[in-house]
Symmetry: C2
Subunit: 211 residues, 2 copies
Amino acid sequence: MGVPRVRHSIFDTLPESLRSEILGVFQTMHFEHGKILFCAGEPCSGLPLVLSGVVRVQMTGLSGNNIVLYRMGADEICTLSIGCLMTGEGFRAEAVVEEDTEVFMMPRDVFDRLMDQSAGFRRGIMDSYGRRLNDLMLLVEEVAFRRMDERLFCWLEARAEQGFLMITHQELATELGTAREVISRLLKELERKGKLRLARRRIEFTRQFFD
Amino acid sequence: MGVPRVRHSIFDTLPESLRSEILGVFQTMHFEHGKILFCAGEPCSGLPLVLSGVVRVQMTGLSGNNIVLYRMGADEICTLSIGCLMTGEGFRAEAVVEEDTEVFMMPRDVFDRLMDQSAGFRRGIMDSYGRRLNDLMLLVEEVAFRRMDERLFCWLEARAEQGFLMITHQELATELGTAREVISRLLKELERKGKLRLARRRIEFTRQFFD
DNA sequence: GCTCAGTCAGTGATAAAGTCACACAAGCTC
DNA sequence: GAGCTTGTGTGACTTTATCACTGACTGAGC
């Protein structure tokens, strides 16, 4: 495998001495596909910096339904955990690893120290917070006002470049925060229109899809 | 009117010298009921610290529908503006004054300086961010999964202590991110059940409401 | 190969919520 | 009072959610 290039841009602005000290102390953690980075209600053991891979953050409603809130990719920070880390209360969300992931788990005291000592670090954290807040606001708008057929189509469109997707209707329903039956019916409708071909766990996009 | 006690708890942890300097430079601004603190897309002139009053933050969907995201009261910080302030892009939200409000409008350079110099200030900002994020996550869950009759009832319940409310159905619809007709029908239903009495701009709670 | 259990998808019936169109009523100005 | 604006009520219809059930596909074990 070789030694992975372990880096995160939030360290770029640190003075050299501080950086090498931090990087020396840290060990990176590996999480495989399907592993849970943190669960709903669990106290937070540190601030995860995502070095590579993809982590999905989703929440379970009181009704038991799920919805995906956002994803974190390489070079992102699990902003959600900061609140967790500071107040000690867990959030009602869980983080599931979608693609094998490397994470720096930054302990609380290191986080505090960097917040104290580095303006660049602070800026990175605040940026991340701002983006997350914006994402969630857009999500509220989407869930409240957009039609499901349009939302589904957009979601598919954003991942159609490979020509097909391996995903179950239930997983799609969780992405959009709706029921499996709704997705099944909308997909069938798209298949009737000739934009898709459906199979078990598989959605294939036809040329028509892109018109 | 007398001189209002102009204070905000985020200043409490500042060293005395810094605090008196900041407080000396600031002027508080007054906003009256109905005034707009900031509009969607508008660049941000500073970080508003709410000293008194109530400000409602709402967003307009692409469809033109509105939904209330959250409210800010005395001693709160308009966290949303920080992202705005840092990236220079406006958010798609607007802030409307509900009860006459006093605000410290903190300029960008002062914000940066306090972030640099005060751990307490940083902590206050991060706390505020965490709470906002949590609120929005709960809102996503509510909008995605909860039934409207239940949401309406909870909303009314939380403000029923006075025995009546002066509000239009359209305003209620904006609170919950739905259509006016939906609210009208649900309210009529509650009236039929004897829990409310409806009049123009007015909802009166009967004893039955509280059972 | 065959059976069986578990997972995944399709669908009808019904209820809840959103949209459209319009009627009408209350309060305001002239 | 006439004419206007704002707020509410309601029918008709569409979209979405929920419930209940069916059957199809897949993999493990025999």
